[in-house]
Amino acid sequence: MSSDTDATPRGGSTAYGADDFAAEESSATAVRLDDGHHVVGDGALPAHFENPGLPPHVERMADTSEKAAKRAERQVAGLFTLSILGTILFLVAYFAFDTAHRSWVPGLGNVSTTNLLFGIGLGLALLGIGLGAVHWAKTLMPDAEVVEERHPLRSSDAAREDFVGIMRDGGEKAQLFRRPLIKATLGGALGLFSLPLLVQLVGSLGPLPKNHLSLTMWNGEPDGHGGYTPYDKRPRLVTDPEAMPIKAEHVTIGSVYHVLPEGLLTNEELGVEGLEHGQLEEKGKAVVLLLRLDPKDFKPTERGQKALSWGYQGIVAYSKICTHVGCPVGLYERTTHHLLCPCHQSTFDVTDDCHVIFGPAKRPLPQLKIDVDDEGYLIAAEPFHEAVGPSFWERG
């Protein structure tokens, strides 16, 4: 840029002879900050820096040549016209094409024509205005450097004293200092007025969660207020989303079933009514993954054998909610018997009671103790023994 060459040469660009360095070396005893640098004068910092002022103003092409100014005008007008065309394109596309219309675009494939044209139209419309305005400002609007001095904001001492005087005078006239009873009760009234606001805020945070997070629909029938009424008969395991009960013999080795407690989802075929309210909330806590392994695959450790004994002939059921932050743990590798969480790659070893072998989860997945009823269907013998999902404040 030409402004660099026009600028007044300052410190760094001034040439100094070798003598300056020699003198410096002989007098120096300790290592100085400017060691090894180009030294100006005796190397010490000056008492104060001179204000270098503004660099000289550089005229632009459009300032000096009318031809260049005309060209800039045409460019800005062209950009604004582009914006106009973009808007017209948007309006035409809006009325010309049905939203279901698709067209093939190289590199994008089959896309919605309206989406594509709306995007291009609005993009051109806004970009044209923006680019045009900036180009206008850069080429034709005045660009002379201007200095605006900053002044202190503090009022003068006289004005401040005046203010205090007026306030005091007002207090005196209102007899505020002479009648302390008014002063005290006014203070009390104003102070207490903050309480309704605070109480309202805290009170609106809702009821305390009690132990709702620790219980699931495997504990009992939801009573509609977050509590559960224990079942007369332990609930069957049913498939998600078809709500069909599961026979143990149908769960072949290597199978995975996504399971919910009976009564959560509606099954018209069997005449089972699902929950009317809070279906998703209950599902979010009660989802279970049912897997069958060869009983020989379970580790001979205490954990592995507990897992096997809580299952039924190698069929085991675990909560699907990750103990890290609650994602559904659904990726099961049949060959390695590893269960993966898709969010943060926590890995649970199913052969070892879903012990965490990798990732940020800290606790194993809770196991659901299962059994078979007299018709051969899998049932939950007991509810979960611990809260499912991630840690929370009151978790026991």
Binding site: M1, S3, V58, R60, M61, A62, A72, R102, V105, G107, L108, G109, N110, V111, S112, N115, L116, G119, V134, H135, K138, T139, T239, D240, P241, E242, I246, K247, H250, V251, T252, I253, G254, S255, V256, Y257, H258, L291, P328, G330, L331, Y332, E333, R334, T335, T336, H338, L340, P342, T347
Partner: protein, 261 residues
């Protein structure tokens, strides 16, 4: 009748009666018992041909009797469906050992050859047969219900758009676009490689048909929003937003701050 009545106390009568009873029960069972869905009864010749093909093409890894070696699993009981899936998608024979058999660029055997090897493997031990066409094309299926089943059972590995996803140690769930309905059905039935099994009791044949209908509908629908970036989710989307989006913004800021036109 008289002759029969006269001989009813003959010592051989009891044996004849027992024999008759056994033949009747056996015959009735064979006629009435539920049969596994075997599409075409394998002939002895087909099994023989399959065995020959197996010896020359598969025995190196799976062993001469298909009972497995250190490098290839035991094939007894995997059924013809597994053979049809693995060979029909070009996964087998595997070009080189690896953590997972990738989908082959081309199928290396003819349909008859695959069927013959399938018949041989099925003759080792009973296993799932190649499914009948009724439920494998997605025709007449309910894509809405199929989508529900897909999101519950499949999307965690295969991605909500069926674009596939990573597993551990180089293993991955492949993408589901461009896969024949029959192969989707067979994969559900047999659980190839890392995939768990979803047998017909877990997801019924009708529901499997719905599932295939959903996948086909998704594929036909295309992507109305434009570039899907592989439908892989936040990683490629974030990459594009940070690199290109921010790149353009930085460039624009530089241009705005530059002195002169």
């Amino acid at each position: 009748m008289n002759a029969l009545a006269a001989r009813r106390r003959h010592p051989a009568a009891i044996f004849l009666l027992l024999l008759l009873g056994l033949i009747l029960t056996g015959g009735a069972y064979a006629a009435l018992a539920p049969k596994p869905a075997i599409a075409a009864e394998a002939s002895a010749g087909q099994v023989k041909e399959g065995q020959e093909l197996f010896k020359t093409n598969c025995a190196t890894c799976h062993g001469a009797n298909a009972l497995g070696t250190n490098v290839g699993p035991n094939l007894a009981g995997v059924g013809a469906a597994a053979v049809d899936f693995q060979m029909g998608t070009g996964r087998m024979p595997m070009a080189e050992p690896g953590v997972q058999a990738p989908r082959g660029k081309e199928v290396q055997f003819s349909e008859e050859q695959i069927a013959a090897i399938g018949a041989f493997v099925a003759s080792l031990a009973p296993g799932p047969a190649v499914p009948a066409e009724e439920y494998t094309t997605g025709a007449g299926g309910d894509p809405g219900k199929g989508g529900e089943i897909f999101r519950t059972n499949c999307s965690m590995c295969h991605n909500s758009a069926g674009a596939g996803g990573a597993l551990t140690r180089g293993k991955y769930a492949p993408k589901l676009t461009g896969v024949e309905g029959k192969h989707i059905y067979e994969a559900l039935l047999t659980g190839p490689q890392s995939m768990p099994v979803f047998n017909d009791d877990n997801i019924s044949p009708e529901s499997k048909n719905d599932l295939i209908a959903y996948l086909k509908a998704m594929e036909a629908e295309g992507n109305p929003g434009g570039m899907a970036l592989g439908s892989l989710g936040p990683v490629p989307e974030g990459l594009v937003a940070w690199v290109f989006g921010l790149g353009v913004l930085v460039g624009a800021a530089y241009w705005l701050g530059q002195k002169g036109a």
